[in-house]
Amino acid sequence: MNKRLLFVLPLAVFLVLAVYFAIGLTKDPRKLPNMLAGKPVPAFALQPIKGRDDKGFASTDLPGRVSLVNIFGSWCVACQIEHPFLMQLAASGAVPIHGIDWREVDPDAGPDWLKKKGDPYELVGDDPRSKAAIAFGVTGAPETFVVDRQGVVRYKHVGPLNEEIWRDIVKPIIDKLRAEGAS
């Protein structure tokens, strides 16, 4: 009895490890945990991009309303895919969207891009040296953060936003945050 158990043991250990690794393999290593969830947005104060006369974009602009912070760049292909949806979202007035123009090599590239394709952002800050991007823990563009009324980061979406993700994930979160603030 005891001896037979000893023979099964290596197999059991192997199976446990195999299941462990099988689960691990299904996880996308590019998806890092959102370290900022539940924490106030990191302090940043970015200069405006060219052609916008506003004051740029700073962390102090965020408290007061539920809003989205979208990290983008004119060089980023996925942002091009995302852009029409952001325009649509901005036009619907569902939520204010702010932009962080990340790592433009040419300071004209970001503004030109927005001029040509349309500008969905309320505030835009220029982040050529990844100051704000690193503070947000960004690994690639686009990434979008949901910030609540207290200026606390509540959710991070990695990759382009689209109709489906908005409807199924982001909008419910925003609705919940607005209800929280109202009560």
Partner: protein, 158 residues
């Protein structure tokens, strides 16, 4: 031929991986720069995940290297700098995972397995030795067997 091999090996060892750190990033203070290099070697590039930011040519790795240096110049300790990056990207960015409860299996696991294997081996050999000498005593040879043995020995000698 052998001399060539030695030369090639020596070059391969001396050369090392190409540096990603740009001359423009290097700090004037060699002591700070050395600390920056050490910290950078332990931080994973989040774009190309199996390289450290010290090795990576990715733009985000470059910006992280610059950030590490800026923080050191501002007077942060090595631990402060690492803690800041971890607070943004999680412990995943540490190429050497810290020892704590969640990573205990990772660190202790291999040693435990080796010890278990050694114990199993020791038990196996001890049992085998006991099986050969102790246990059932070998019985004396019968007359018939002794005769056969003598015959065989005699054969051998001739």
């Amino acid at each position: 031929m052998f001399r060539w091999l030695v030369l090639i090996l020596a070059l391969a060892v001396a050369d090392g991986p190409a540096m990603a750190v740009n001359p423009s990033e290097v700090l004037a203070d060699p002591l700070l720069e050395k600390r920056a290099r050490e910290i950078s070697k332990g931080l994973r590039c989040v774009v190309c995940q199996n390289q450290s930011i010290d090795d990576s040519d990715a733009t985000l790795a470059r910006d992280l290297r610059v950030l590490v240096r800026e923080r050191l110049v501002a007077g942060d300790s090595d631990q402060d700098v690492v803690d800041y990056v971890v607070s943004r990207y999680g412990e995943f960015v540490l190429l050497k995972p810290p020892f704590k409860f969640a990573t205990a299996v990772l660190w202790v696991g291999p040693a435990v397995i080796v010890l278990a294997a050694l114990a199993a081996m020791a038990a196996f050999f001890r049992r085998q030795r006991r099986g050969a000498t102790g246990g059932a005593r070998p019985t004396a040879l019968s007359d018939d067997e002794r005769r056969r043995l003598d015959a065989l020995m005699k054969d051998d000698r001739t």
